[in-house]
């Protein structure tokens, strides 16, 4: 099964790289947004030694993972149902798990590349300092949990996407809304009405962005967070809970075909 999963991962990555439009739009878009926001808002922070562009560089990691995980998976599964990929695989001895692991490998590969690109832009263009080893450790589990949550939710949401054509439109609604209310596009998040922060706190993106700010920004920046603290324990708990919710939703909504059952 391992070799089949790896083989699935290989063809998933191969197909993604050969489809230039998706490379440009899903992969380079977060980096373009970072360049844009970072340039427009530049240095407008009071805190010493931190620029707005550095805050964007760290928060934007949450957006990068969300688009690679949630959008790639959600649209990818809808596409696989429509073009016959799933139907073909279901007629072979390939286990469903291997198919899903293949997708996870694709998302993981893209997310690693995406994160590397965003950090590179942050460091090279906006002078974002790289953190020490203990912060990288936090980065590792935060990154892993974020990818899993977004991937699972992507699989789950694909169940309600009827046609691959409409996938982009449907998936981008929650993505864009969550960017605005989760402290990715607008930070300090405390500028938002309290009830909106509460709403954002129910979803994973706010916690992902907060965690990545902990990793890349100086400790003093925690005063701009909603709770005035980094809340690493709570971040782990919320993302862990979303892993479970995502898995349950996946199992409930997964369909092999549009006409299944």
């Amino acid at each position: 099964m391992t070799s089949m999963s790896l083989a699935r991962g290989h063809v998933e990555v191969l197909q993604f790289l050969r489809d230039r439009t998706s490379v440009v739009f899903t992969f380079l878009f977060p980096a373009l947004l970072l360049l844009l926001f970072g340039t427009i808002f530049g240095d407008s922070y009071d805190q010493a030694g931190v620029s707005a562009s550095q805050v964007y560089a760290s928060s934007m990691l949450a957006y990068g993972i969300l688009t690679t995980g949630f959008v790639t998976m959600g649209a990818g599964l809808a596409m696989d149902r429509e073009d016959g990929t799933l139907k073909r695989l279901r007629g072979t001895p390939l286990p469903l798990t291997s198919y899903l692991i293949g997708k996870l490998i694709l998302v993981l590969t893209m997310a690693v590349a995406e994160a590397a690109l965003l950090i590179l832009v942050g460091v090279v263009v906006f002078d974002m300092p790289l953190p020490d080893a203990s912060h990288w450790l936090t980065f590792a589990w935060l990154f892993g949990l974020s990818v899993i949550v977004c991937t699972l939710l992507g699989v789950a949401v694909s169940g309600i996407v009827k046609h691959a054509r409409s996938a982009g439109a449907i998936l981008n609604v929650p993505v864009v809304i969550l960017q605005f209310i989760s402290g990715v596009f607008i930070h300090p998040i405390t500028q938002l009405p309290t009830w909106l922060i509460t709403v954002a706190s129910l979803f994973p993106v706010k916690w992902m962005a907060q965690g990545f700010r902990y990793v890349f920004l100086p400790d003093s920046m925690k005063s701009l967070e909603a709770a005035g603290a980094w809340e690493l324990g709570r971040i782990a708990m919320v993302l862990g809970a979303w892993c479970v919710i995502g898995l349950v939703l996946c199992l409930a909504t997964f369909r092999w075909s549009e006409k299944d059952r």
Partner: protein
């Protein structure tokens, strides 16, 4: 053990019976064709046999197992040629065939299969760049790469040009010659006649006739129509056995330059069968 045994198969969609009690037996090594107009229940039946769809009733055994519950080892013994897949467009023919081969315990090699379906010249081309007929041949390659005991072909030659169809028929005969059981659905009666050992006609979710291409629907007993020229008049006679008449015409020295003896074609029989249903 037969390759396929079906008794009383039923499938309803929102109260409408798409398959209304089908009995079917396909022997090992046989090429069996399922004919019928659009909406007759062909694809539904085949998809139930493939394990792609659930049934509402009846007993189904495919290679000895219930396709509704059969596992991976069963799937490694069947091959499915999809009707309208559009997947893997960015992979090359070899890449995709090799990839799918990796799912099976004892696959054919990619080169062997690509050669069999006549795509050797295109093996490094991306599937996206192939013509419709070539694309379908990739589907066939993927269906047979796992060395299946039973192959499902749902309208496999739709969109083929005549030459490609002939080549495809040869391929199916080769596979059958190696002992592969083949279940085929088709719109083309010449295809059924050329390939099938036995066939069944499906209409309105039921089997209305079953037999060999020569005997289907009483075709063998349907007799013949003899017509010939008598002066400036065309004479036509419909007879159960034309032997006597022909002997007499020869003995009488009749003008036989325009003589025709026609027996009902498979198409005539088929149209009568499905027409009788409507």
């Amino acid at each position: 053990m037969e390759a396929i045994e079906v008794t009383g198969l039923r499938k309803t969609y929102q109260g409408r019976e798409a398959v209304a009690g089908i009995d079917l037996v396909v022997a090992r090594g046989e090429i069996f064709a399922l004919l019928g107009p659009n909406g007759a229940g062909k694809t539904t039946t085949v998809e139930i046999l493939e394990g792609h769809r659930r049934r509402n009733g009846g007993d189904v055994r495919v290679l000895g197992e219930d396709p509704g519950t059969a596992g991976r080892s069963w799937r490694s013994r069947i091959g499915i040629v999809l009707q309208d897949a559009d997947d893997a467009a960015d992979l090359t023919v070899t890449e995709m065939v090799r990839h799918v081969a990796g799912f099976y315990p004892e696959p054919r090699t990619a080169d062997e299969v690509i050669e069999l379906v006549g795509l050797t010249a295109k093996k490094t081309s991306k599937i996206r760049t192939l013509s419709g007929g070539q694309r379908r041949r990739v589907d066939v390659a993927l269906g047979i790469v796992g060395r299946p005991e039973l192959l499902f072909l749902d309208e496999p030659t739709t969109g083929f040009d005549p030459e490609a169809r002939r080549q495809f028929w040869d391929l199916i005969r080769t596979l059958a010659g190696d002992g592969t059981t083949i279940l085929l659905t088709t719109h083309y009666l010449d295809e059924a006649e050329a390939l099938a050992d036995r066939l069944a006609v499906l209409a309105g979710g039921q089997i209305v006739a079953e037999g060999t291409p020569a005997t289907l629907g009483g075709r063998a007993a349907a007799g013949a129509k003899v017509s010939w020229q008598e002066g400036d008049r065309t004479r036509t006679e419909q007879l159960a056995d034309p032997t006597e008449l022909l002997r007499k015409l020869v003995a009488d020295g009749a003008d036989l330059r325009t003589l025709t003896v026609t027996r009902p074609t498979l198409e005539d029989t088929y149209l009568t069968l499905i027409g009788a249903r409507k």
